[in-house]
């Protein structure tokens, strides 16, 4: 993590000294690569609380390299994308690295302050990335609108979270994540240290806790774009440049989900039925609404946005299941599915950003007509990613779905499973729609952008992702065992 920060600083200096796109991007990438390797190497070491704010345990150490790797991939993908942008391009990488720092803080935080810190660092940087190609007319369509919407709404969400935290703090008296069900004992034990001292204090009713939790959940649900807090998602996805969208969709979501998981596990919030009800409602809404919205959508980015809504809904099933399950199976399910999700989402956006560029984004489904015969490999990768999103075997997405369903079955969440089946059914339709478009004979007299030399590395990344997708889809055992071990700590 320090390395990432270091990278950020170095970048700042570099940009200060001499503007060189290649240079900065290279530095950023190497820095992130380094961070990835180191973090991965640190994995075997045991948990320790670095300052009251941050905990460095297996779980955070498991996600840190993933996030760094993602950031690195996105950086690589951004390189060709921004290559022709006639504007200062360097700061983009700065923002990217800073955002990554925020994400890393989030995954390794078990304290309100660090959570907010990380969350805001991430968001701030993201506003920048979303609005980045603001100045050039022909570039990504509505970056400004996207940025403003994202800013205002996520500020609202943040304030929800903050207010909820405040209430919890009032209840429990600590800013660290803590068990809210046992708060009464705390209160009973404590006495006023206020101005005057009159007898033991009277406890706050449970409703405070519940409202507090719901506030926090609502805030987080917004960041994860869960229904009914999802409406910003498609607009922001569509408005922002593809790499930024990819970052938002992968790193942003993953980090946030880790926080949610940690918070729920430590503060045994699901013990409150009302919280479970809330989650169930949110989950089923997200699955149905997400898939339905995507059904006849023609803009690829929006389709992916809606599908991500649905996928977050799927993930919640496992989260809810964790309440009913003794073992770590649900945590494993969430973790595995998160990884599957980031791989396939990044892959999908990656393909899109390879065939697009900052001047012209090809994000209409019709733009992909005949891709299969024009660029078979690219189309093949895209197909694989889409099938994986649809949860078809041979891909990691299937194993992820398998995990979720298993968790759901074990905890007998039949309703949610039913919703999942229906949702996946609808999902098949719009994923296949894209696949079918790619299979159609290609429309000639249509200006496609052919990737130049600068996007070779992107192909490399995509190939790597495809490899992961398939290998983990066919032989996931190593990853399973790894996750099993790291999940133990939560």
């Amino acid at each position: 993590m320090l390395i990432v920060i270091a990278t950020a600083i170095v970048l700042m200096l570099l940009i200060g000294i001499r503007r060189s796109y290649v240079g900065t991007s290279a530095t950023a990438i190497t820095g992130l690569l380094l961070a990835t390797i180191v973090a991965a190497a640190m994995l075997p070491y045991t948990n320790q609380q670095v300052t009251p704010l941050l905990i460095v345990d297996q779980y955070s150490l498991f996600f840190t390299p993933i996030i760094c790797a993602l950031a690195m991939f996105i950086a690589i993908l951004s390189f060709p994308y921004l290559f022709r942008l006639n504007d200062d391009k360097e700061e983009y990488y700065l923002l990217l690295t800073v955002a990554t720092v925020g994400a890393i803080i989030m995954v390794s935080s078990n304290h309100f302050i660090s959570t907010i810190l990380g969350l805001e660092t991430l968001s701030m940087a993201l506003y920048g990335m979303v609005a980045y190609p603001l100045h050039c007319k022909e570039s990504a369509k509505y970056p400004l609108e996207a940025a403003v919407k994202y800013l205002v709404l996520s500020a609202v969400a943040t304030s929800f979270i903050l207010f909820g935290m405040a209430l919890l703090y009032a209840k429990t008296g600590t800013l660290a994540f803590s068990n809210v069900t046992t708060a009464h004992e705390l209160e009973a034990g404590a006495t006023y240290i206020g101005v005057t001292n009159i007898g033991p204090m009277q406890g706050l009713s449970d409703n405070y806790t519940i409202i507090a939790l719901l506030l926090i959940i609502a805030g987080i649900a917004f960041k994860l774009s869960l229904a009914p807090f999802h409406m910003w998602t498609p607009d922001v996805y569509e408005g922002s440049p593809l790499p930024a969208t990819a970052y938002l969709a992968t790193v942003g979501k993953a980090a946030m989900f880790v926080v949610l998981l940690r918070f729920l596990e430590i503060s045994d919030a699901l013990a409150f039925d009302s919280v479970v009800t809330a989650f169930t409602l949110v989950a089923s809404l997200s699955i149905l609404v997400g898939n339905l919205l995507a059904l006849l959508q023609d803009n690829l980015k929006r389709i992916l946005a809606y599908s991500s809504i649905a996928h977050m809904g799927y993930l919640l099933i496992a989260v809810i299941a964790s309440q009913y399950l003794a073992g770590t199976i649900s945590v494993e399910a969430v973790t595995f599915y998160l990884i599957a999700y980031v791989i396939m989402t990044l892959g999908a956006f990656g393909v899109a950003s390879v065939i697009s560029s900052s001047e012209k984004e090809f994000d209409e489904v019709s733009d992909y007509r005949g891709l299969f015969w024009r660029e078979p490999w690219l189309a093949g990768i895209f197909t694989a990613m889409l099938l994986s999103l649809a949860g078809i075997p041979l891909t990691v997405g299937f194993i992820g779905k398998f995990y979720l369903v298993l968790a759901g079955v074990e905890s007998g969440l039949w309703v949610l499973l039913g919703v999942l089946v229906v949702g996946s059914g609808i999902g098949l339709y719009y994923y296949l729609r894209i696949v079918y478009r790619m299979l159609l004979p290609q429309r000639d007299a249509f200006a496609y952008r052919e990737a130049g030399i600068e996007s070779l590395s992107s192909y490399g990344v995509l190939a790597l992702l495809l490899l992961l997708l398939v290998v983990l889809g066919i032989y996931p055992t190593p990853l399973m065992t790894l996750i099993q071990s790291v999940a133990a700590v939560i």
Binding site: F112, I116, L117, Y142, L144, E145, S159, A166, D235
Partner: protein, 103 residues
């Protein structure tokens, strides 16, 4: 001997402020006011932290409040930046011009 304010009242006040801020965000059409209402919301939660802190007699609450202040500042900074861009492009601060993406 000064009467202490019961914590509920403090939280109530904070809550009311929070709601006012929220309503502001929902209703104002001018983006500048929207940002201001956001400030109100953030500070309301800040107030809530103070109250809670006074209940437990920690400093943590105040620290958090300071955090929130800086955070709000940052938000506004970015926000204003965007507003300027927006004004350049549309020559208005009416938030409804930013509703081209839909469906």
């Amino acid at each position: 001997m000064p009467q202490t304010i019961p914590i509920e009242h403090g939280l109530m006040l904070a809550g009311i402020l929070f709601c006012l801020g929220l309503i502001g965000v929902l209703t104002r059409r001018n983006i500048v006011f929207v940002l201001m209402s956001l400030e109100v919301m953030l500070n309301a939660s800040g107030l809530a932290f103070i109250v809670a802190a006074s209940r437990w007699g920690h400093a943590d609450g105040q620290i958090m409040f300071l955090m929130i202040l800086t955070l709000a500042a940052a938000e506004v900074a970015v926000g204003l930046g965007l507003i300027i861009q927006m004004y350049r492009r549309f020559h208005t601060t009416d938030i409804n011009v930013l509703s081209q993406m839909k469906g």
